[in-house]
Amino acid sequence: MAPVEVDVERPAGGDEPGRRHPNTCPSCRSHYRDDELRHALRVCAQCGHHFAVGALERIDQIVDPGSFEEIGGDLRAADPLAFVDLRPYTDRLLDAELATGLGDALVAGTGLVVGRPAALAVMDFAFMGGSMGSVMGERFCLAADAALARGIPLISVTASGGARMQENILALMQMAKTVGAVDQLREAGIPYISVLAHPTTGGVIASFASLGDIVIAEPNALLSFAGPRVVEQTTGEKTAPDFGRAESNLRLGQLDAVVPRRELRGELARLLLLFSPAEDEPTGEQGPVPVPDDATITGEGPVDRVLGRFGLGRRRG
């Protein structure tokens, strides 16, 4: 789905990110109730802008209802350096846990995607910018362990500013640790599908996230080692408006596909089928894997209820 170009005259002030309501589209300024946005998979109905999705909601979008089982949910960040910047690391952790209800910026587990099992490692940007510390590294490895033990593919969905500075060198080592887990999957012939959401930068894109057997991205996601501001400040070079965006990365050969969120679950199901053994394939007239549309993913949306009143339904896979 190509985003519709909407030209909006911006009124003076009132549009700084800090002052914008999180459910107001930053690109076309359409505003949504939270349940509307949730039903729409947090994609703007007007312009196709992809809002950020929390880890648990993302898991709901991808896996079959009730099939997700979390692994390593009880792991919590320690503070090995007793790190204090303007605020202590432990305070920041507490705030992040209260704000997101998560123990760290990555949720690991297993679930079914349109009936096919997969291990999952899903990140949440709202937890300290999706930064990678010791807990994220360990949870990613636990997801990979589950994939190895059960012989099922691993899917990761990333959204991260990079490594967690408060854990300094141990955060950096998580890059080697997670790549080691990918190496184990490769050695065992287990498929790994990496989904890059906005933004995936720094230590996460420079480690496991780039090493998927298949790498796909969400539209307009920023995917770069250094962000545009760092590039401009460090090198003095100007960056183009599409610098590091998913579409540029596709053009430059860094990705297999840019997949809109509505099609993500279906595309993952198709990949799981393609990576499954031949005898697993349904024989006869069943044909290709049914690709569910958004309504089958989140249940009935508002549109379906309206259509339903008139005895109409939307196209189903």
Partner: protein, 294 residues
């Protein structure tokens, strides 16, 4: 009434913190010293014969990262290292030791060559970080760093890595996944430069000294956290004070570490290296009932 003992304790603590802060900042300064020996300075002293492996076979030759086929104590090794320049023209040519993706592609080629012939790999880490430019990004900087880490994971030959100056972030780690990781006494190793950390967390790059103290990029801290296996002594005043002596000390340390890495059977080396990095990290377990971190 002022309790003198409390006051003295408070002052002593503050004094110790200031002393520690100075010590950390000294290491940052020494690691970046303009006369600090670089990879080639050590290569000249450690190896008897050497042939430079140039080019990534795809795009160009990145002089910020060098690779050598060399003779070390009678056996052939592959040496890979970041390389900074001495004068302005060499610094520019070598991009201040900040590789582009083609540099990492060269490193991958060198590791694969070593693996094919069973030659040990010695790496010398000394970079402020991977080059953060538009061209580097367009040619896949992040993906190439990831692939370099993977290539080091996959090799079944012994790998000894030494941080000899600045171990700057992913650009350093890309060639630092070794069976044994060493660090020179005055080298630093961190996830971001003190300036970068200060700019982000303190919103002021001028607070680099404070940031460095907070995140401790020193060899001592890296040893305590289990990130490096041993610290390599330097001559008094730093490696630049006596490069020959620094090279002798480095040689002893690398020789010992290489012997340890070679003691692991080749068939187990890849798994052992993965396990080494898998252990890295510190975390707690939440008590779900109490909802608190234990």
């Amino acid at each position: 009434m002022v309790r003198v003992t409390d006051e003295v304790r408070r002052l002593r603590k503050r004094f110790e913190a200031r002393a520690e802060e100075s010590h950390v900042w000294d290491a940052v300064q020494l690691a970046r010293h303009a006369e600090r020996p670089y990879t080639l300075d050590y290569a000249e002293r450690l190896f008897t014969d050497a042939f430079e492996l140039r080019g990534d076979r795809a795009f160009s030759d990145d002089e910020a990262l060098i690779a050598l086929l060399a003779r070390y104590h009678g056996q052939t090794v592959v040496a890979i290292g970041h390389q900074k320049g001495r004068d302005l023209s060499e610094r520019t040519r070598r991009m201040f030791g900040m590789p582009h993706p083609e540099g990492y592609r060269k490193a991958i080629r060198a590791v694969e060559l070593a693996d094919r012939f069973g030659y040990p790999v010695l790496t010398f880490v000394d970079t402020p970080g991977a080059y953060p430019g538009v061209n580097a990004e367009e040619r896949g900087q992040a993906g190439m760093i990831a692939r370099s880490i993977l290539a080091f994971c996959q090799a079944s030959v012994p790998i000894v890595s030494t941080v000899i100056g600045e171990g700057g972030s992913g650009g350093a780690l890309a060639i630092a996944v070794g069976d044994r990781v060493l660090m020179q006494e005055n080298a630093i190793y961190s996830v971001i430069s003190p300036e970068g950390c200060a700019a982000i967390l303190w919103k002021d790059a001028g607070q680099a000294r404070k940031a460095a103290y907070a995140f401790r990029p020193t060899a001592g801290a890296c040893l305590d956290l289990g990130v490096v296996d041993a610290i390599v002594e330097e001559p008094k005043g730093g490696a630049h004070e006596d490069v020959d002596q620094a090279a002798r000390l480095l040689d002893q340390a690398i020789r010992g570490a290489l012997a340890e890495a070679e003691a692991v059977p080749a068939a187990q080396r890849r798994a052992a290296r993965r396990a080494k990095f898998r252990r890295m990290g510190v975390w707690g377990v939440a008590d779900e009932a109490a909802g608190e971190t234990v």
